[in-house]
Symmetry: C2
Subunit: 268 residues, 2 copies
């Protein structure tokens, strides 16, 4: 039987899911089935959530695991009473933080994934629009506006990484696909020359690239292993000649690629 | 002076940033300046991070706040020794979880934002490709493949929400922009009729819509308050007539819109 898990939150539940799921990966022997109960903004909503948790406990004959980031002590208490295993991811740290800062906390509902700071939110949306509108190729003018420009062969992971960089880090991320046209002189394409400091290279192993391309366009030269190998060799040679930092994305998630770029480019 | 904050992690740092920033929003009186130290996968990396933290402490004359999701007890110990305020967001819960589950944890590096389950990761990337390729309009065939289809007037938040639904929840999210052409009969456009159960409406207040549209295209009818008011009234009338759930996105972040849709459509 799968062990039931509940994530409860007064807002989206994204924070509690993130840390909760991360903790659960430390117990690979157990199969978990999780459900998020978000937007528990009042006692009535918390009561219904508590009823759902109690019912699961009765049905399974074993207490579920409950992770909570509720900020209101009253709703948190309602949840805490519903089950023996309630992990209060938020409240646990509030008191020590109050001590460290010598301040009382405001006990307002979690605002991590709200609009919060309106200017920061606009910056993020405009970064996302930038990345959407500058996918696969850039003009000199738009390069000027970009925070970072990913370069690499077609289908090596540029687009999803750009979107993540925009969505999560509010960076205007453009990308430029390197094709056979660019490999003539083993030098940077002219359009990129003035923006060397913004460039970051992505690469991938040829077998994986061939597989990904094959799903998209099985016919023709595009997805053959020979073509993939040739393009990748030329792209990596260019990165080395031009001294451009680059990363192999083969076994790396878009979050990991993005976090690596942010670290290497010192955005944070 | 701003209070310095460090987020330390053996992987991307995204989990520790998420909960850490969320906790800090409870202390609005203090200005924080944060830095993430990700990928601390060995003792040497942890030592350099500890040195950075010690230096900040000396420079500021006050200990920074350090949030950690390090899973390895040795590297965590190195960080814990560097400063008095180290909040161990991960280790704090591992022991109680071990007790609750009657199992030892695996103490492997956080895998929350890695590729992890390869099939789940592929599903997520293909959802993202779907949402990118089916932005602004859908054919009957692609509607068949979508998990959810957002409908609403131009610039009410459909595209960023679709991308977030794909990126975070691995949902194939399409969208269909409602325009004056669709409002003739106050009924669903024909292409959407077979997929009523997948539809979710977005709306926005006219003043905000006019402002957003004005940034994009200041000339012409498109961004006038009269045009925005008229389109929104007709879209909302259609949602009500056709009994389609809808959400006002005016003061709501894309995470909140996405989490609301996921809850209302019972995806989780």
């Amino acid at each position: 039987m799968k062990r039931r898990v509940f994530f409860v939150s007064d807002r989206t539940g994204i924070t509690v899911e993130t840390l909760g799921q991360s903790l659960l990966t430390q117990f690979p022997e157990t199969d978990f089935v999780s459900r998020t109960l978000p937007f528990l903004t009042n006692q009535l909503a918390a009561q219904s959530a508590a009823d759902i948790i109690r019912l699961a406990r009765e049905e399974d004959g074993i207490p579920p695991l409950v992770f909570s980031t509720l900020t209101d002590p009253v709703t948190q208490h309602i949840i805490a009473e519903s089950n023996e295993h309630v992990f209060d991811l938020f409240g646990t740290f509030i008191e020590p933080l109050e001590e460290a800062l010598g301040q009382e906390s405001s006990h307002t509902a979690g605002r991590m994934h709200g609009i919060g700071d309106a200017m920061a939110y606009e910056k993020r949306l405009s970064a996302l629009n930038f990345s959407l509108n500058h996918d696969d190729g850039l003009s000199t003018r738009t390069l000027h506006d970009a925070d970072v420009v990913l370069i690499g062969v077609s289908r090596c992971g540029k687009t999803p990484t750009c979107l993540y960089l925009a969505m999560h880090y509010s960076l205007k991320a453009g990308n430029y696909p390197l094709t056979d046209d660019d490999f003539g002189q083993n030098r940077l394409p002219d359009v990129l020359k003035g923006s060397r400091h913004k460039l970051y290279g992505l690469t991938i192993v040829p077998e994986q690239l061939s597989r990904i391309r094959h799903e998209r366009r099985p016919q023709g030269n595009y997805s053959t292993i020979a073509q993939c190998r040739s393009e990748i060799a030329k792209a990596e040679a260019m990165f080395r000649t031009e001294n451009i930092e680059y990363l192999d994305t083969t076994t790396v998630s878009i979050e990991e690629i993005a976090a690596t770029i942010v670290r290497d480019k010192r955005f944070r």
